[in-house]
């Protein structure tokens, strides 16, 4: 286990936005990234308000401290954003903010992927076109599954 930054430790110990939203609701988009076999699964949910902004964001994460801190940071950042803004979330920003060591960069990638998947899920539910997306392979590289 690496020495984490104070911010990572704080977010790990007291993560924000833990929980679940109603997956069946048309207002809610759900995205899951990672896999249990690889040791990390992240679920991010967003609720889109009438103003087309993210009214709420929740997560549940099975993974290391960095993954949990990254989920908390990402969901907190999402709130109030439009979908277009949300899609610009950059995993490097999360990694820098948490001062993640190189072996933990993929945990921030995981958060990024879950957010994009949640956006796509909401769009699909609401009849909007979804652009095909290449899956980041950073995570596959880590898991020999």
């Amino acid at each position: 286990m690496p020495q984490y930054s104070q911010k990572t430790m704080d977010l790990f110990m007291n993560p924000k936005n833990v929980g679940s939203l109603d997956e069946a609701s048309p207002r809610v988009g759900t995205g899951v990234s990672g896999s249990a076999v690889c040791g990390d699964v992240m679920k991010v949910q967003i609720e889109i308000g009438d103003d087309r902004r993210i009214a709420d964001a929740k997560f549940k994460t099975f993974g290391c401290g960095a993954a949990i801190a990254a989920s908390s940071l990402a969901t907190e950042w999402l709130k109030g954003k439009t979908l277009d803004e949300a899609a610009t979330l950059d995993n490097q920003t999360i990694a820098d903010d948490l001062q993640l060591p190189p072996v933990k960069i993929h945990c921030s990638v995981l958060a990024h992927e879950a957010v994009l998947a949640a956006i796509d899920d909401w769009k699909t539910k609401n009849g909007l076109p979804v652009a095909p997306r290449e899956k980041a392979d950073t995570h596959e590289g880590h898991c020999a599954g």
Partner: protein, 397 residues
């Protein structure tokens, strides 16, 4: 009673130095600083005397003759010397070595090194409890086999192998038997004659001695094992391991062996009781947990437990005032889950969820009870955070 933190429950990684061992070593770090190989003055004689006394202490713990003990820098070196030393010495006789998937990296990588030089390695699969059986070994021996190397006890799961049976099979077939007993020596009785062991690796820092010193038992009679030395030089240790002897470290190893020998009969049951108290409390108070390794054939101090739906590194962070280790990929440099747990068929999800808790000489019941309470709370908190737990519970509804 409040316990003092941090609590150390990672004794399979390394142990603290016993103050009595330190006291035995001190004079050899200070006034008796001589080189044991200096034959011409009292400084050398004093150091040599101490080294030979330590050699006898190590031998006594193993039921061996003192002259069969070769001092090394630790178990990694002992494993390398035993495996490569036999392979190179007996290459004319055969090129086949038998080992197992759950061995320590020092054994695995020594064997892989030899494979790259043309040796044939048979990698035996342990059973679901982690044991390799004598009949598996017997079935793998061919007329090209020169060495069987199977560990006495596993460092991650604590499973004890039936080494007496394996030794018997190897001896009957005229094949040398090496055992990496780093995690067994000092914890359970070992007798190299009764168990037909020809080579045995051990390390001081796993038994309350100092780091950087260990030994290799090399049988000199019935049958005699010869080794190609791996470190050339002044011909110390009967030519098997050159280099000025680490006299204070060796004195520490000797003292550590003596203490383990004297205390094993009381310390073994004490640790077994504490370890079982820990394991049964975890298994009964936390749902969806399982013990990895053999239910009974296990060294007294080790419990390896998977707590489903919770990732091991995050669990260790939650209980950061308690030092343990995990088989999760997230905490390994390679980002691979434990190969030992994989080899015994633990699904990867549960390998990521595993904790190894290894007790030691100063572990108290209060520490164990505190650890269980902390774990119960930490697992609950992390399951509240776990999408896998949520999915599993939804399915069960």
């Amino acid at each position: 009673m409040p316990v003092k933190t941090p609590i150390y429950l990672d004794h399979n990684a390394t142990t603290p130095l016993d103050p009595r061992v330190l006291a035995a070593m001190m004079p050899y770090l200070t006034e008796h600083f001589g080189n044991p190989a200096s034959r011409s003055h009292s400084f050398g004689w004093k150091a040599e005397e101490a080294v030979e006394a330590a050699r006898a202490q190590v031998a006594t713990l193993l039921g061996a003759a003192a002259k069969d003990i070769v001092f090394t820098s630790g178990a990694t070196e002992s494993d390398n010397l035993a495996i490569k030393g036999v392979a190179q010495m007996y290459r004319q006789k055969g090129n086949h070595i038998i080992t197992a998937l759950t061995e320590h990296k020092a054994v695995i990588d020594s064997c892989k090194h030899l494979a790259s030089e043309g040796f044939e390695i048979t990698w035996l699969s342990p059973d679901a409890n982690g044991q390799v059986h004598p009949d598996q070994v017997a079935g793998a021996i061919t007329d090209k086999t020169i060495l069987v190397t199977i560990m006495a006890a596993n460092n991650e799961i604590g499973t004890i192998n039936p080494i007496a049976g394996i030794g018997e099979v190897a001896r009957k077939r005229g094949v040398f038997f090496h055992t990496d007993a780093t995690q067994a020596v000092g914890k359970i009785p070992i007798d190299v004659d009764a168990m037909n062991i020809d080579l045995l690796s051990l390390s001081a820092h796993k038994m309350y001695g100092p780091k950087g010193v260990g030994a290799l038992y090399v049988r000199r009679r019935n049958p005699r094992v010869r080794l190609t030395c791996q470190i050339d030089g002044g011909g110390h240790e009967g030519g098997m391991r050159s280099g000025t002897l680490n006299a204070p470290g060796i004195v520490g190893l000797g003292a550590a062996c003596e203490l383990c020998r004297a205390e094993m009969a009381t310390e073994g049951p004490r640790l077994t009781a504490l370890r079982d108290r820990l394991a049964s409390a975890i298994l009964s108070r936390i749902e969806h947990t399982r013990l990895n390794g053999h239910p009974t054939q296990r060294v007294p101090n080790t419990a390896n437990i998977s707590m489903a739906y919770v990732e091991g590194e995050s669990l260790m962070m939650k209980i950061s005032d308690i030092a343990v280790s995990t088989g999760s990929a997230c905490s390994s440099a390679s980002l691979e889950p434990s190969y030992v747990l994989r080899a015994i068929g633990v699904p990867d999800e549960l390998a990521h969820s595993s904790l190894r808790i290894s007790l030691g000489r100063w572990t108290t019941q209060d520490e164990i009870d505190y650890t269980v309470d902390r774990l119960v709370k930490a697992v609950k908190d992390l399951r509240d955070l776990s999408p896998l737990y949520e999915m599993a519970m939804a399915k069960n509804k």
